[in-house]
């Protein structure tokens, strides 16, 4: 069931087009990663979905009663408010009853790991704490859709891991759309990928489908020396590629399965150092797609 549909969304500033003809659907309780280089139009797209920007044209259709939480890339807080005061205010402004807002705010701050800092003024917070507080204000009213602009980019590896774990916990009953350029992290929490470049969507689909289209998976066989590799490659009927002492066999395009390769290798006299299955990482796929378009 879709909770948000975007059709031909466009944002222009004069002659310049920041986002052009963006169309996609968000299914309920899925995670979608919006990936693109700087200036691709990710923040503009999220700002339009968060109703901060009006589109020049196109249509955004949301499910009835959909509540939205938004985390900007660099969330800014009133430095003279404490984390609890700010989150409580955010809860109240999002429609939570005054009586429940304080409890809900302190629970949410506990969830994001700011329990001990909730009575400190936000002006004293580090970058990581601000990112956590940003997440707290975005989820304090338990929205059905979370829009996150680069939620982990500004964090150190430990902080990234903690926030990713929080997001994965949220994903169970929340639809998440997040932009990122840390593709290894995106790979572990995504049902749908949206690649953007120059304001346009250049690739979309599930992680598996995108990988099938662009990952070029292959089996790699490493020999002790290049002569052995060449001799082995010469005897094969499958499509292959020889690079020094390594033979690459593409898995797609009617290539062999690992079992077939292992059967052939079992009778081989040459010194084989190793056999493994290799596929392009999301980062490699992204670079390939961006370069091609």
């Amino acid at each position: 069931m879709s909770i948000l549909e975007v059709e031909k969304l466009t944002k222009r500033y004069g002659q310049e087009s920041a986002v052009e003809d963006l169309s996609f659907v968000l299914e309920k309780e899925t995670a979608t990663a919006l990936i693109g280089p700087n200036g691709a139009g990710k923040t503009t797209s999220l700002s339009m979905l968060a109703d901060l920007l009006s589109p020049s044209s196109g249509k955004i259709t949301v499910a009835e009663g959909l509540t939205i939480g938004f985390l900007p890339q660099y969330p800014q807080f009133f430095p003279w408010l404490t984390a609890l005061e700010f989150t409580e205010m955010a809860a109240k402004l999002s429609g939570i009853e005054s009586k429940k807002a304080r409890l809900q705010a302190s629970r949410t701050l506990g969830f994001v790991g700011l329990e001990s800092a909730m009575n400190k003024k936000t002006g004293t917070f580090s970058g990581g704490m601000k990112q956590r507080l940003g997440l707290a204000q975005a989820i304090v009213h338990q929205p059905k859709l979370l829009l996150l602009d680069e939620p982990i980019s500004a964090l150190d590896p430990t902080g990234r891991r903690e926030i990713m774990d929080l997001l994965k916990a949220l994903q169970r009953d929340t639809t998440i759309l997040y932009s990122t350029h840390i593709l290894n992290d995106a790979e572990e929490m995504t049902d749908q990928l949206l690649f953007m470049k120059d304001g346009r969507l250049i690739e979309q689909g599930s992680l598996n489908n995108v990988k099938k289209r662009h990952a070029s998976p292959h089996i790699r066989i490493r020999f002790a020396n290049p002569n052995q590799a060449a001799e082995f490659a010469g005897r094969l009927t499958w499509e292959r590629e020889l690079k020094g002492a390594v033979v690459f066999l593409p898995v797609y395009k009617n290539g062999p399965s690992m079992q077939q390769v292992l059967e052939v290798l079992s009778s081989e006299k040459q010194d084989i150092l190793g056999v493994d299955y290799q596929t392009a990482s999301l980062e490699e796929i992204f670079l390939k797609v961006v370069a091609a378009k």
Partner: protein
């Protein structure tokens, strides 16, 4: 109404925690005190400044207390208004520019409640500052010169308060309309000067001009202003304030896209 009270609380906290609630009244108290004190000690000040021929004698007529209070108002009209502009030029524009407004604007926010909360708190602090400033000036005038009728003072301050509300409305609306606090201050100051200049040059016959409110306020001390002109000027000021509140709410909403994301 619920959002208005939540946002009012936020504004109130901001004005307390950034000490605006203390330093704005403090400046007005200082301005209020300066006029009677300087007037009273003027002979001693001149003597101690030196450079006068020996035996020079100055005779100053003692100014009437009404004149001292009118001079206090003059101070408020120049330095006081500049202080209010500086204090509230960034009330909306600053939030947008720093990005702190973003986390408010992404919620189902009532922009009239948002703008009104800023206007109410800015007006309250400005009015209290002007009142305590006059009160301080009145106290020292009473101490060094003579007393002014309490009712006259009350009427003067009341009339002047309408003018202050008008200026605060211009400042807060300029802050909502402009991209940053500096431009908001420039626009508010330009409007203030243009109003004064236009009224000074062409406004001799415009008896119901709200720009004449400070004049009418001072007139309570001497006699009493023409009630028809005063009522007209207050009515026009109220209409302009109302229009600025509507404009400010609308332009705050219109400019929400300019907040830093």
């Amino acid at each position: 109404m619920k959002q208005f009270s939540i946002l009012m609380q936020k504004e109130w906290r901001e004005n307390i925690r950034n000490y605006k609630i203390y330093w704005v009244p403090a400046i007005f108290i200082l301005l209020g005190i300066t006029e009677p004190v300087v007037n009273f000690f003027l002979p001693q000040i001149l003597q101690s400044s030196g450079g006068l021929p020996e035996g020079a004698v100055f005779e100053f007529p003692t100014p009437p207390p009404e004149q001292i209070l009118a001079a206090v108002m003059e101070q408020f009209q120049t330095i006081g208004m500049a202080v209010l502009i500086l204090a509230y030029m960034g009330t909306v524009a600053g939030e947008r520019k720093s990005g702190t407004a973003t986390l408010l604007y992404v919620r189902p926010l009532s922009f009239p409640a948002y703008f009104l909360s800023k206007w109410v708190v800015a007006s309250a602090i400005s009015l209290v500052s002007v009142w305590v400033g006059f009160l301080a000036g009145y106290y020292y005038t009473l101490l060094f010169f003579d007393r002014v009728e309490g009712m006259e003072l009350f009427q003067m301050v009341g009339t002047y308060s309408i003018w202050v509300l008008l200026i605060v409305s211009i400042i807060v609306a300029a802050s909502a309309a402009m991209p940053n606090g500096g431009l908001a201050a420039a626009v508010a100051f330009a409007i203030y000067l243009i109003l004064q200049l236009t009224d000074g040059l062409f406004g001799a016959a415009w008896s119901i001009s709200p720009v004449k409110l400070p004049q009418y306020a001072a007139a309570w001390l001497a006699d009493s202003p023409d009630s028809g002109s005063l009522t007209g000027a207050i009515g026009i000021a109220a209409l302009i304030i109302l229009a600025l509140l509507v404009f400010g709410s609308w332009i705050s909403w219109k400019n929400k896209a300019k907040t830093k994301v």
